[in-house]
C-alpha cells in the first residue's frame, strides 16, 4: 500500500503542478501575485465559468483524490476541516480554518489535535454536517476499494497501519474520536506539527454514511461546498457543477463562488487549450485552465502581444527538478565526482531546455524559493549561471580522474518533459567542457520511473524531480532524505539512499514543532546541511504561466498551488 501511495504521491504532485509535457503554473517569489489586467474591474456573481483541461479529474471521491491543499476543482465541492488561504503569493501558502473554527488545537507534544465545527454548516440537501461524518470520510480513505489518497493518515494515526476501512471494520478507527457532533479529536503515533496542512486534504471532507455508495460515490457526491455535482461523465472527463443553495458565505470566508455554474472539460490537447484561450471567442472568453502551461513557442508569441500577455497568470508551485546520484554505483560513490558534476552544470542551458527563464528558475537549493518551505539560499559548489568547467576539471583530477571520465545519464525519452532528452543533452553538453563524457541512457516513461525508484535497479546518475504535498519543508525533505523512508522493493524516493542518523534525528525534532515559522528555519538549515553532501544537484524550479480568458476577473494565485484559484474567479 505504502509503495502505491508513494507512486501516486509523485504522480499527484506532477498532476497538480505540471501537467507533464507542457507544464507548470503558479505564483512566486519573484513576481508574486496574480495577473494585473483584469483585477481592476469589480467581480460580480453570475454566469458560467469554463475550465479547459488536459487531464481528467478522475476518481472524484474525497477518499481517492490526491490533492495538495484540497485541490482546485474538488475544493469547490468538498469543504475540509482546514483549507488553504485563498490569497496571492506567500499569504496563500498558509493554512486557514474551513469547516473548523480554527486550524487546530494541538496537545503539548503535537500528538493530539482537536477541532470544533462552525455553526450552521449544511450539506447540499440541507441536512447538518457533523463530526461523525468527517470521521466516516477519513475511515473511507483506508478502504482498499477506495485507494489513491495520500499515505499520511495511515502513517500518522494510531492504528492506521492495520485499519481496513469502514466496510470491513464496522468498529471504526479508535484514534479518531467524536465526543459530540461538533468536536473531533485525532490521536497520532508521533508528534506532527504540520497536521493542519494534512487536514486540508479531501479525505477530511464530511461524507454522510447513509448516502455512501462506495465506489459509485464519485458520480454524485454529497456537496458541502459552494457547488454541487450535476454531471460527471467518463470518470471526470466532463464535470458540470451548479451553485449549492445550502452553502452559506457566512460560514466560509475563503471561497468566493462568483459564477452560477462551472463546466470542467478535460481530455483536451494542450496546444488546443492554449489556442482557444488566446483566441477567446464565444464561451472561451470565460474560460481558464488549471493544468496547462504555455509552451516555449507559445510564450514567444505571447511576449510579443501586450493584450495577450496581460492574460497570463504567473505562479510557483513548490517543485524542484534535480540530478540525483546513487552513491552505491561507481564512480558516484566518490563525493568529488559528484561535486565535479555540480560545478560543471550549466543551469542556463538546462533552463532553456524546459522553455527558458520565464518557465523555470535556476536552483542551487533543494527547497523551493518560497519562504514557507524554509528557503535558505546556499550554493556549496558555485557553478555560476553557465557552469565552471575549470573548477570541475580540478575537482575531477582530485577525485583521481585527471584525464576525464565517461558516465551514463539516465533520462526519460518523453519529449518536452522535465526529465526528458532536452534537459539530458543540455547536461551532456555542459559536462563535456569539464572532461566528463556523458552517454545518454533514454528510457521509456514507465520503465524510467520503475527503474529509478527501485533500489536494486537504480542507476548512478539520473534526472528526477519532487513536489510537495503542502508548502513546507517536511513533505519535501522527509521522503527524499529520511533514511527510514528507504523502500527496499520498489517505490523508493530516497534516491541517494541517504541514512544519516543526524539527518533522521533532526527531521523528528522539527516535526515536533507546532510553530511553523521556527520549523521553516530549521528545515532550511537542514536542506543546506544535506546539500553540502552533493547527493543531488538541484537544477531548476518550474514556473507556471497560464492563460485565462478575456472575461476572467479576480485572478488569485497562491504560492501553495501556483495556479489561479477557481473559487475566486468571476466571469461577470
Amino acid at each position: 500500500m505504502r509503495q502505491l501511495s508513494l507512486i501516486s504521491r509523485r504522480v499527484a504532485a506532477v498532476a497538480v503542478g505540471l501537467a507533464l509535457a507542457g507544464g507548470a503554473a503558479a505564483c512566486g517569489p519573484k513576481d508574486s501575485g496574480g495577473a494585473k489586467a483584469s483585477t481592476d474591474a469589480k467581480p460580480a456573481k453570475g454566469g458560467t465559468l469554463y475550465v479547459l483541461n488536459n487531464q481528467a479529474q478522475e476518481d472524484f471521491d474525497p477518499a481517492r483524490l490526491y490533492t495538495s491543499g484540497g485541490g482546485n476543482v474538488p475544493s469547490l465541492v468538498y469543504r475540509t476541516l482546514t483549507t488553504r488561504t485563498r490569497a496571492n503569493g506567500a499569504e496563500g501558502s498558509k493554512v486557514a480554518a474551513d469547516l473548523a473554527t480554527n486550524t487546530g488545537e494541538p496537545s503539548k507534544d503535537a500528538t493530539v489535535w482537536t477541532y470544533h465545527l462552525k455553526d450552521g454548516l449544511k450539506y447540499e440537501d440541507g441536512s447538518p454536517i457533523t463530526t461523525a461524518d468527517i470521521k466516516y470520510g477519513i475511515e473511507r480513505a483506508f478502504a482498499a476499494e477506495l485507494s489513491g489518497g495520500a499515505p499520511y493518515l495511515r502513517d500518522w494515526l494510531i492504528g492506521g497501519a492495520a485499519y481496513q476501512g469502514p466496510y470491513k471494520d464496522k468498529n471504526g478507527l479508535a484514534s479518531v474520536e467524536t465526543p459530540d457532533a461538533r468536536t473531533i479529536v485525532f490521536h497520532l503515533n508521533k508528534p506532527e506539527g504540520e497536521f493542519p496542512f494534512l487536514a486540508t486534504q479531501t479525505s477530511f471532507a464530511p461524507v454522510p454514511k447513509a448516502k455512501d455508495t462506495g465506489t459509485k460515490y464519485a458520480e454524485h457526491p454529497v456537496s458541502s461546498g459552494p457547488y454541487k455535482v450535476i454531471k460527471n461523465e467518463n470518470n471526470g472527463e466532463h464535470l458540470v457543477l451548479e451553485r449549492n443553495p445550502n452553502w452559506s458565505e457566512a460560514t466560509d470566508d475563503q471561497r468566493k463562488a462568483y459564477p452560477d455554474s462551472i463546466d470542467v472539460q478535460s481530455g483536451l490537447d494542450q496546444a488546443v487549450i492554449n489556442q482557444r484561450l488566446s483566441t477567446g471567442t464565444g464561451k472561451d472568453a470565460a474560460a481558464v485552465t488549471t493544468d496547462t502551461n504555455l509552451g516555449p513557442a507559445e510564450l514567444a508569441k505571447v511576449n510579443g502581444d501586450k493584450a495577450l500577455a496581460s492574460r497570463v497568470g504567473t505562479g510557483h508551485f513548490g517543485y524542484t527538478d534535480y540530478i540525483a546520484f546513487n552513491p552505491k554505483v561507481k564512480p558516484f560513490d566518490n563525493p568529488k565526482v559528484r561535486q565535479a558534476i555540480a560545478y560543471a552544470v550549466n543551469r542556463t542551458t538546462v533552463v532553456n531546455a524546459v522553455g527558458g527563464s520565464s518557465l523555470a528558475d535556476q536552483a542551487t537549493t533543494y527547497l523551493p524559493e518560497q519562504a514557507s518551505f524554509g528557503y535558505t539560499p546556499y550554493d556549496p559548489f558555485p557553478a555560476g549561471k553557465t557552469g565552471d568547467p575549470v573548477k570541475a576539471k580540478q575537482v575531477l583530477a582530485e577525485a583521481g580522474y585527471p584525464n576525464g571520465i565517461t558516465v551514463s545519464l539516465t533520462h526519460d525519452v518523453t519529449k518536452a518533459d522535465e526529465q526528458g532528452p532536452e534537459v539530458a543533452t543540455a547536461v551532456q553538453d555542459a559536462l563535456k567542457a569539464a572532461g566528463i563524457t556523458v552517454k545518454l541512457d533514454g528510457q521509456e516513461h514507465k520503465a524510467f520511473s520503475e527503474k529509478i525508484h527501485n533500489v536494486s535497479t537504480e542507476p548512478g546518475f539520473f534526472l528526477t524531480g519532487w513536489g510537495a504535498d503542502w508548502p513546507s519543508g517536511g513533505p519535501f525533505l522527509g521522503p527524499i532524505f529520511d533514511g527510514r523512508q528507504i523502500v527496499k522493493d520498489g517505490s523508493n524516493f530516497n534516491n541517494a539512499q541517504l541514512d544519516d542518523p543526524a539527518v533522521n534525528k533532526e527531521i523528528d525534532e522539527i516535526n515536533k514543532l507546532t510553530d511553523l515559522k521556527a520549523a521553516a528555519v530549521r528545515w532550511g538549515a537542514l536542506d543546506k546541511k544535506i546539500g553540502e553532501q552533493a547527493v543531488t544537484v538541484p537544477l531548476f524550479h518550474p514556473v507556471y504561466k497560464r492563460l485565462f480568458g478575456k472575461d476572467i476577473k479576480n485572478v488569485v494565485i497562491s504560492d501553495w498551488t501556483g495556479v489561479l484559484d477557481i473559487s475566486q474567479v468571476s466571469v461577470k
Binding site: 513557442a297 507559445e298 510579443g304 542551458t349 527558458g356 551532456q428 533514454g442
Partner: protein, 332 residues
C-alpha cells in the same frame, strides 16, 4: 512501398520482360535526355557531397552540431533565436535552434548523412532480401513458392511503420541506431520487391532462351545467375530508385516519433518533430528541415521516374528520347 507502387512499376519497366536489357551507355543517354532526371541527379549528387563533407562544411563554418549557444536565444521568450529568420548570421549561416542555440547549418548537413545512409542501407537490404526470396519463389517447387509467397504477402500487409516501431523498442540501446534503422526498415519493407522479382522470373522462365539453356544442361542456380539475373537488373534498379525516397520518409517518420536516432545526433525527422510547435514563433526552424526532406524525396522520385523511362524501351521510344540515329552514331 505499397502495392500501388508495385503495380505502377510492373506496368512500366516490368511490362516487357522479353525485351533485351539495354546497355548501360544507352540508358545513360536516355536518362540524360530527360531534363527533370538530370536535375534530380544533380540535386542528389550535391546532397551526397554535402553529406560526405558534413564535418568539413561544419568546420569551415566554425561550428558543430552539439555546442549550445545560450547567448543567441531569448530565454525569457521561450528560447526563440535572437535576430531575423532564426538568427542567421556570419557565424551561423542558417541560424540557430530555438532553446539550445545549436547551429542549424551543422545539424542540417549532418542530418543529411543519417537520412541518406539509412535510406540507402535500407534499400540495399530490401534488394538483397527481395531478390533472394523472389528468385527462390519463382524457381522453387510449388511448396517453396507457396510458402515464400505467403510470407511475402504477410510482409506487404503488415503496416511497416507500426512493425518498425515495435522492433525499435525491443533492441537494446547499445546497438548503433542508424544501422538498426537501416536493418529494420530493410527487413520490414522488402515484400513488394520480392513479388516483382517472382513475377518477372515466372514470365522469363517460360521464354525460349531459358528453355534452351535448361536443355543444354544448365542447373537452376546457373539459369538464375546467367539467364535471369541480367534481365532482372532493369526492373530492380527502377524499383530501388523508388524505394530510396520511401525509406527516407520512413526514417524521418520514426525519428519524428522519437524512436529514430538518439539525441544529440541530428536527423531531419527529429528536427521536424521538435519544430512543430514553432511554426509561428520561428518559421525557419520548421522550414529548413522540411525543405531538405522535401527536396531530397522529390529529387529521388524524379530520378526514379527518369530511370524507369530510360530502362523501358517502349516508353523511351514513345518519348523519342535517346533513339535518334544521329545521336547514337555520334555517341559511338
Amino acid at each position: 512501398m505499397t502495392t500501388q507502387d508495385l503495380t505502377a512499376v510492373e506496368a512500366g519497366a516490368a511490362g516487357n520482360p522479353a525485351a533485351p536489357a539495354p546497355g548501360a551507355r544507352q540508358v545513360w543517354r536516355r536518362l540524360r535526355a530527360q531534363r527533370a532526371a538530370v536535375a534530380g541527379t544533380a540535386v542528389i549528387a550535391l546532397l551526397v557531397l554535402v553529406a560526405l563533407a558534413a564535418p568539413l562544411l561544419s568546420a569551415i563554418e566554425g561550428q558543430n552540431t552539439t555546442a549550445y549557444h545560450p547567448e543567441l536565444v531569448d530565454s525569457a521568450s521561450g528560447g526563440v533565436p535572437l535576430g531575423s529568420f532564426g538568427g542567421i548570421s556570419g557565424d551561423h549561416w542558417l541560424g540557430v535552434e530555438p532553446g539550445t542555440g545549436r547551429d542549424m547549418f551543422s545539424r542540417l548537413v549532418h542530418g543529411a548523412q543519417i537520412s541518406l545512409a539509412v535510406a540507402l542501407g535500407a534499400t540495399l537490404v530490401q534488394i538483397l532480401v527481395g531478390v533472394g526470396t523472389g528468385l527462390a519463389a519463382g524457381l522453387g517447387n510449388r511448396f517453396v513458392d507457396n510458402l515464400l509467397s505467403r510470407v511475402t504477402d504477410v510482409m506487404i500487409t503488415m503496416p511497416a511503420l507500426v512493425f518498425a516501431i515495435a522492433l525499435m523498442a525491443v533492441v537494446p540501446d547499445s546497438f548503433p541506431r542508424p544501422l538498426l534503422l537501416a536493418l529494420i526498415i530493410g527487413f520490414v519493407a522488402w515484400g513488394s520487391i520480392s513479388k516483382l522479382v517472382r513475377a518477372q522470373v515466372l514470365s522469363l522462365k517460360s521464354l525460349d532462351y531459358v528453355a534452351a539453356s535448361r536443355l543444354a544442361g544448365s542447373g537452376t542456380w546457373r539459369i538464375a545467375r546467367r539467364e535471369l539475373l541480367p534481365s532482372l537488373v532493369a526492373p530492380v534498379i527502377t524499383y530501388a530508385a523508388l524505394l530510396i525516397p520511401a525509406n527516407m520518409v520512413i526514417e524521418s517518420g520514426l525519428s519524428f516519433l522519437g524512436i529514430g536516432v538518439k539525441p544529440p545526433t541530428p536527423s531531419w525527422g527529429q528536427m521536424l518533430s521538435s519544430a512543430n510547435t514553432w511554426y509561428e514563433a520561428d518559421p525557419a526552424y520548421v522550414l529548413l528541415p522540411a525543405a531538405m526532406l522535401f527536396i531530397s524525396v522529390l529529387a529521388f522520385t524524379v530520378l526514379a521516374d527518369g530511370i524507369r523511362t530510360a530502362l523501358d524501351p517502349r516508353a523511351a521510344s514513345r518519348l523519342r528520347i535517346g533513339t535518334g540515329r544521329k545521336r547514337e552514331e555520334a555517341a559511338s
